[in-house]
Each structure stands twice: as structure tokens, then as C-alpha cells.
């Protein structure tokens, strides 16, 4: 059906509801709404499908505007070191298991560093994943200094000739200054163990997160420099729309999508497919 002014307003309202409910936030919804209004000015008879086409293009553009990470351009001297961070319960440890599985399937030798020395059974959890996917594990006694574990894991990765070292860290809220300091220390000592490390700093963002994910990402990025985002739990009903403001405001690229609890449930990020799922 083609739109009258009233229909167009209804359409814009429906669009706004769809976008807000996908957690893209008010600013991003407003930008997309403006794109659609501009389109309406030229095509007053636009249908809902036409509008979705404009919305899709607008979102893909936002996500693709992010420059690729340096790590993707310059392959590091092995081992490649990946530091995985994020707030509590987002899916870091599980994501590491999945990433390790991918690397092992590709014939790489992977070492996991159990640098979450704080949370109950965190090391045991990672150990089970290492065993499941065929990766090595480096851990110390519970309560050990996380930076010391991270250092040892990277040093061991170097001497043992691992291709990849992935470091698990404890979940932490970005507002806890001492915990952010701890993370900085981990990053610093890892650089001492292997020049240029960590080559990747991945922030795991739970798809169910609301607008606070932006504050989280901003703080983590400011402190450490994030090279990529993993959006987890996209097999639920949450859309993870917060990655749009993360791309727009912080220039952060999404690298991977977690779509389940199994070792195979990790997909490389592709803007078109992501936006299609968001709009479905």
C-alpha cells in the first residue's frame, strides 16, 4: 500500500518501535528515522518494504564504516595473543572455548591462559573447555595474581611454539577502578612477555545488554583499546542492536557472534546478515 501523510507517520512510529526494541538506542533510531524521512520526501508513495530497504542500507553503512583492526592487516609473530574481557556473565569463557575450537580445527596449536583467578570454579570451567576442544591450558593456584598467570601463559606459548594464546579474564564492571587497573596491568605484562601482545583485545557483549553497554565499551576502550567485539547469546530473542552505537560512537568493529552454548556456536560477523536478523 502506498502512504498518505498519516500512513507515513504510522510507519515511522512502527519503525521507531522496532529499532528501540532492538536496543539500537534513541540517537541511532533518530538517525535512521531521518534517513527514512528524507527518503519519503523523494518517494512519498514508499511502502513498508521500501522503508526496510532504506533502514537496512543505513544500518549496514553504519556497521561497515568502522575501519578494520590492525591485527587483521599485520599478522603477528607467533603466538598471536588474544585478551578477552567484559562484564560479568557475558560469555567470555565460553567464547574462548569456541574460538579455540575454530583455531584447532584450522590446525593451529592453542594455549588457553586461565587468568580469572577470582571467580569460583573459573579455572575448572576453562579447563573443561580446553579439554573439549583440544587446546592446552596454563593455570596457577586459585587466588594467584592474574597478571602473573597471563605472563606465564604468553611466555609458555612462546617457548612451546603455540600459534595462539587466548587469555580468559574475570568478569568486571567498568566502574570498578581497581579492577580496570588490574586489567591494565595484565595488558602491560603480556606486552613484556611477547612484544606487540596482546594483538587482539576482544570485548564480549551480551546481546541482552541495554544502553549501559555503550558506557562499558567506552571505558574498556579508553583503558585498553578494544580491537573487536563479540556479541554473545544471539540465539535468544535479544537483537544486540547496541553494536550500532558502538560502531558509530566508538568505531568498534564486531568480529564474532555467539549463537549458542556449544563449541560450534560461533559465527564470523557479517553486517548484512546481522542487520537482516535484527530486522526480522
Amino acid at each position: 500500500r502506498s502512504s498518505s501523510a498519516e500512513n507515513r507517520q504510522e510507519l515511522l512510529d512502527e519503525l521507531e518501535e522496532l529499532l528501540i526494541q532492538a536496543d539500537v538506542g534513541i540517537q541511532t533510531a533518530g538517525i535512521i528515522r531521518d534517513d527514512v524521512s528524507a527518503y519519503f520526501a523523494v518517494h512519498p508513495g514508499a511502502t513498508w518494504d521500501d522503508v526496510l530497504g532504506i533502514v537496512r542500507a543505513s544500518m549496514v553503512r553504519m556497521l561497515s564504516a568502522v575501519p578494520p583492526a590492525e591485527a587483521a592487516i599485520l599478522p603477528p609473530i607467533p603466538p598471536e595473543v588474544v585478551l578477552v574481557i567484559g562484564v560479568n556473565g557475558g560469555g567470555k569463557t565460553t567464547t574462548i572455548g569456541k574460538l579455540a575450537y575454530r583455531h584447532v580445527q584450522a590446525g593451529r596449536r592453542v594455549l588457553l591462559g586461565a587468568a580469572d583467578t577470582f571467580r569460583a570454579a573459573a579455572v575448572e570451567q576453562l579447563a573443561i573447555w580446553a579439554d573439549r576442544v583440544g587446546a592446552d591450558l596454563l593455570a596457577q593456584k586459585s587466588g594467584a595474581d592474574p597478571a602473573s598467570v597471563a605472563f606465564d601463559a604468553v611466555a609458555a606459548g612462546r617457548s612451546r611454539g603455540n600459534d595462539v594464546v587466548i587469555l580468559d579474564t574475570a568478569g568486571r564492571l567498568h566502574t570498578k577502578v581497581n579492577l580496570m587497573q588490574e586489567l591494565l596491568k595484565i595488558q602491560r605484562v603480556v606486552g613484556k612477555a611477547h612484544e606487540g601482545a596482546p594483538h587482539e583485545v576482544l570485548l564480549v557483549v551480551d546481546a541482552t545488554m541495554g544502553q549501559n553497554a555503550i558506557a562499558q565499551a567506552r571505558q574498556f576502550h579508553q583503558s585498553l583499546g578494544i580491537t573487536g567485539i563479540v556479541v554473545s547469546k544471539l540465539d535468544g530473542t535479544a537483537k544486540g542492536g547496541v553494536v550500532l552505537p558502538l560502531a558509530r560512537e566508538l568505531g568498534l568493529p564486531v568480529r564474532w557472534l555467539g549463537v549458542g552454548e556449544g563449541l560450534d556456536d560461533l559465527e564470523p560477523f557479517e553486517a548484512g546478515a546481522f542487520v537482516d536478523a535484527l530486522l526480522s
Binding site: 570454579a121 541482552t208 535468544g236 552454548e261
Partner: protein, 290 residues
């Protein structure tokens, strides 16, 4: 602050003598933005703002020297009312052990909260049995066992069928005269019908007096869908919101309360086992309104 923003908009009303609906609607738009930014669900915001509108168009607002503060006060009051009174968190009754069941999405904080609750009850001189009914997540049982030994509380469970684990624990609790049983279940998606069916079977087997949704306080718009589904399956008696020790506004509180009608009983405010507080509606209202 919101009050100051609303003041700026509503100051235009003053000296006009009659209420300008358009100006009030402009103020309500500002309120709507604040609530969406705070992660309150889109539809819940719509209903909430609609309920505020007649109150905002009242004589009392018009007569006020600071109409914006007046509206902000009305909004705060209404939100506190919606979030529910500060009722006694856990209802004790009867001689059978009180069975408390925790359920929710993956990673929301159930295992940690189970131990926090157990510590709270222990400090109230109750004998508590913690039950590790998550047989799926790697080292989930080890996690709860570690926490329970930290606080000196007995812990059952481990392998097998979660329903059987819970039943066995309930039997043991009755036989050995525990005051309370806290069931930690596996995180699950509300759209996973098999796993939701497992929850229903646990309820059928042990009739938990308290069926609590443990939800992440930083959740965005999706909070409504999750809460609705868990409520439909469990008929929730309460909600625990976790991870409110950060700077998330916590709009999920209003969303889950609005769609389930279940009272928010506790909030998690940290990773330590002491970090569980009773819910204070006024504090959360202030936080949501920024």
C-alpha cells in the same frame, strides 16, 4: 537532571493562566526519552507516560512555581508505586522446608545469588540446603560447591536428571529438618521449550514456595520477553535483579515488574556473597529517572 529539564520546558506554562497541552506533551516527550535511555521497555514507557499525562495536566502542576519539579515528583511517586511496596522478602510459613527456586537466562547471576541467599538465611539462623541442579554448564556444580563451602552451607546435587536431583534434595531436606532449600538451575533461553518444560517439571516435583526470576539489572528491551515467558511457565513469586553495583540505570526493573506483577525482592550489588540487599523502590526509581 530530569526535574531541571522538565522545569525548562514547563516554565513556558507560567504566566499564561491556562494549561498548554502542547507544552506538557513536550515535557512528556522528554520524560519518554529519559526512560528509554534508562532501558525501560518501549511499551512500558508508552503506558507509563500515558498514565502520567492526566496527572501532569492537573491544577497542582499549573499552580506550582517549579512545574517541572512538580511533574518530576509525580513521576517519581508513580514509579515507586508501580515498582511495588517494600514487602517482607521471603514468606515463611508451615513446618515443611521452604523451597526456593532460582531460574533465568544464562549468566544472569543465579549461582552466585543462590549462595548469597543461603548466606542471608544462615545469618537468620536457618539451616539451608543448596542444590546444584545445573548439570549442563562446565563446572557449574563445582562453582556452587565452592561457594557453599565458603559460607559453610551444605550442598547437594551434581549429576543426573535435574528433576531427580531437586526431588531427592527436597526429600533429604524434610528428613533432616532443613529450614530452606535453594535450587540453583541451569541458565536457559525462554524460547527453549525443552528447557522451559524442565523448569515446569521441577515445580511439579517439589512445589517451591518461592519461584524467583534472577535477571541481569543491565538488561535492555528484551527484559520484557524473558520475564513474560518465565512468568508463564513458573508463575513467579518474585524477582531478583543482579549487577546493580555498576552504573546501569536499571530500567529493566520497571519492565519486569510491569509485565509480571511479581515483586522485586532483592538486588545483587556485587560479586561477594554479602552483596545482596532488599529491594528499595524509591532508590531504583531515582536511579531510573537519573
Amino acid at each position: 537532571s530530569l526535574a531541571a529539564k522538565l522545569d525548562g520546558i514547563l516554565k513556558k506554562l507560567q504566566g499564561h493562566g491556562k494549561l498548554d497541552e502542547r507544552t506538557v506533551d513536550e515535557a512528556l516527550r522528554e520524560l519518554r526519552l529519559a526512560l528509554l535511555e534508562a532501558d525501560v521497555n518501549y511499551r512500558v514507557v508508552k503506558d507509563f507516560v500515558a498514565s502520567i499525562r492526566p496527572k501532569a495536566l492537573s491544577e497542582q502542576v499549573l499552580a506550582s512555581i517549579t512545574p517541572g519539579h512538580q511533574v518530576a515528583w509525580i513521576v517519581h511517586q508513580e514509579m515507586v508505586r508501580l515498582l511495588g511496596g517494600e514487602s517482607a522478602p521471603i514468606h515463611w510459613s508451615g513446618i515443611d522446608p521452604m523451597v526456593i527456586m532460582l531460574a533465568g537466562l544464562q549468566g544472569s547471576g543465579k549461582t552466585t545469588t543462590a549462595a548469597k541467599l543461603a548466606l542471608l538465611l544462615k545469618r537468620q539462623q536457618r539451616r539451608v540446603l543448596l542444590v546444584a541442579a545445573d548439570v549442563y554448564r562446565p563446572a557449574a556444580v563445582a562453582q556452587l560447591r565452592t561457594l557453599s563451602s565458603q559460607i559453610g552451607v551444605d550442598c547437594d546435587g551434581g549429576e543426573g536428571d535435574p528433576v531427580a536431583i531437586c526431588s531427592a534434595a527436597a526429600v533429604r531436606a524434610r528428613r533432616e529438618v532443613y529450614d530452606a532449600v535453594v535450587l540453583d538451575t541451569a541458565g536457559r533461553l525462554h524460547i527453549d521449550s525443552e528447557m522451559m518444560e524442565e523448569l515446569a517439571r521441577i515445580v511439579a516435583a517439589v512445589s517451591p514456595k518461592e519461584r524467583l526470576l534472577v535477571a541481569d539489572g543491565m538488561t535492555g528491551q528484551d527484559a520484557v520477553k524473558t520475564a513474560q515467558e518465565f512468568h508463564a511457565t513458573l508463575s513467579l513469586t518474585g524477582i531478583i535483579l543482579t549487577k546493580l553495583d555498576g552504573d546501569a540505570r536499571g530500567g529493566a526493573a520497571l519492565s519486569v515488574r510491569a509485565v509480571t506483577g511479581a515483586p522485586i525482592k532483592f538486588v545483587g550489588v556485587g560479586e561477594k556473597l554479602q552483596d545482596l540487599e532488599p529491594f528499595h523502590p524509591s532508590r531504583i526509581a531515582s536511579r531510573i529517572l537519573g
